[in-house]
């Protein structure tokens, strides 16, 4: 897995066009704020989500031809804030507020939230009847996060007090391979992509990812990059770990059913075992630990878990709807300019 450097994608609307045009120049006031962004459905708004994704990527990766000074350029941050506002509001609309009883034990509340979750049966579908093409599409969608697995939640590390910080590190150290680069989960995912004949280059499929896929990753970056959302960042990670081991077993089974061996399934098999460890640490030591130290963010922890489940459900529904119609769930490749 080489160093990260992505290409600036083709814009897909006025927001991404204005942002990408500016990024090709020198950092400065050339990027005008878009004013209040009106979007009927921010989570499914291709233009908004792509622009936001690229704005966040400045913190994760180099972008070919883009000056690194843009990362903290005030006009960029102002522009990004206008994209975040409708997105954050749309997510809040999907999330039911925590009740008092839940706040008394955040670990137990997280268990209940996850147990009650009835998301679309995407992993069961892929396990039992998904086609190779659908499984490959699923891998391409997930590459938006999995090639930087764990990174969005690592932004929370310096913001936590010792007990929840130690718990987060216990999880993240394992995500990052326990000191071994080849066991790093992002590297395992790249290996799986390569084995399946996909391009494991970071950002290779960015133009093929629909808004909901980008939204699922933008959600993590939003929570991770804003200290005020540290509770949601922790809750998001806990929810992610608590809903991971069983679907990952099914994705591994899907690949086995389609004739692939250990090379391809290792990433998924590893997650069955790893996340069975992580989910307990994340729910009780990390989320519970943070709620004990900072009770004022307890409700935001539960918000993060519920936001994850809602956005993931929206994403899974869109994939399954596309497949039911016999269509690809990926965006059409952008036309190559003449």
């Amino acid at each position: 897995m080489a160093r990260r450097l992505i290409e600036l994608p083709s814009p897909c609307g006025p927001l991404s066009e204005r942002l990408f045009d500016a990024l090709e120049g020198a950092p400065g006031a050339s990027l005008e704020a878009p004013g209040a962004v009106e979007s009927a459905d921010p989570i499914a708004d291709e233009d908004l989500q792509l622009a936001l994704y690229v704005a966040y990527e400045l913190h994760y990766t180099g972008i070919s031809g883009v000056d690194e000074g843009w990362e903290w350029e005030p006009s960029l941050l102002g522009f990004r804030a206008e994209l975040e506002r409708p997105f954050e509001a749309a997510v809040a609309d999907l999330v039911q507020p925590a009740d008092e009883g839940e706040l008394a034990s955040v670990g137990a509340a997280l268990q209940a939230i996850v147990a009650e979750d009835v998301g679309p049966p995407l992993s069961r579908y892929l396990e039992t009847q998904g086609t190779l093409e659908q499984m490959l599409e699923h891998v391409v969608h997930r590459s938006a996060y999995q090639l930087k697995e764990a990174d969005p939640h690592s932004w929370a590390i310096p913001r936590l007090s010792p007990r929840p910080k130690a718990a987060l590190l216990e999880v993240q150290a394992d995500e990052y391979g326990g000191g071994s680069a080849e066991r790093m989960h992002a590297v395992l995912f790249a290996n799986t992509m390569e084995t399946l004949g996909l391009d494991p280059t970071y950002g290779a499929y960015l133009e093929r990812l629909p808004a909901v896929t980008l939204a699922s990753v933008n959600l993590m970056s939003l929570f991770g990059l804003h200290r005020r959302r540290r509770g949601a960042c922790v809750g998001h990670l806990a929810g992610f770990e608590m809903t991971s081991s069983i679907p990952n077993r099914r994705y591994g089974n899907a690949l086995r059913r389609l004739g692939f061996g250990r090379e391809a399934t290792h990433f998924y098999d590893e997650h069955v075992e790893a996340d069975s460890v992580h989910e307990n640490i994340a729910a009780w030591d990390l989320a519970g630990g943070l709620a004990a130290e900072e009770p004022e963010v307890a409700a935001d922890i539960l918000f993060g878990a519920r936001a994850l489940l809602q956005v993931e459900a929206r994403w899974a529904t869109q994939l399954m709807d596309c497949w039911e119609r016999g269509e690809s769930s990926l965006r059409e490749p952008a036309a190559v300019p003449a």
């Binding site: 066991r183 081991s245 069955v272 075992e273 069975s276 307990n280």
Partner: protein, 80 residues
């Protein structure tokens, strides 16, 4: 694997998590009854407590599917 403690042995702890597995930390070795080591790759492992894992003795998250319930602390003596 990185061991920040170097040669310092760290004591083994076994922690039952609420409605979940036993988490084992420290300088542990898992063996079968014959003494053969079961390879483990991570510093913290989860041992199945519900009995229904499909990769026993390790946890695979199945306890969530079957509604397994158990406290983290010791259960009270029945009827006591």
């Amino acid at each position: 694997m990185v061991d920040p403690n170097g040669d310092q042995p760290s004591p083994v702890t076994i922690t039952p998590y609420p409605d979940g597995p036993y988490l084992v930390r420290g300088d542990f070795v898992v063996t079968d009854q014959e003494g053969n080591e079961l390879p483990t790759e991570r510093r913290t492992i989860a041992l199945c407590r519900c009995g229904k894992s499909r990769m026993r003795p390790f946890c695979d998250g199945t306890h969530k599917l079957i509604g397994f319930e158990a406290p983290s602390g010791q259960e009270p003596w029945p009827g006591g």
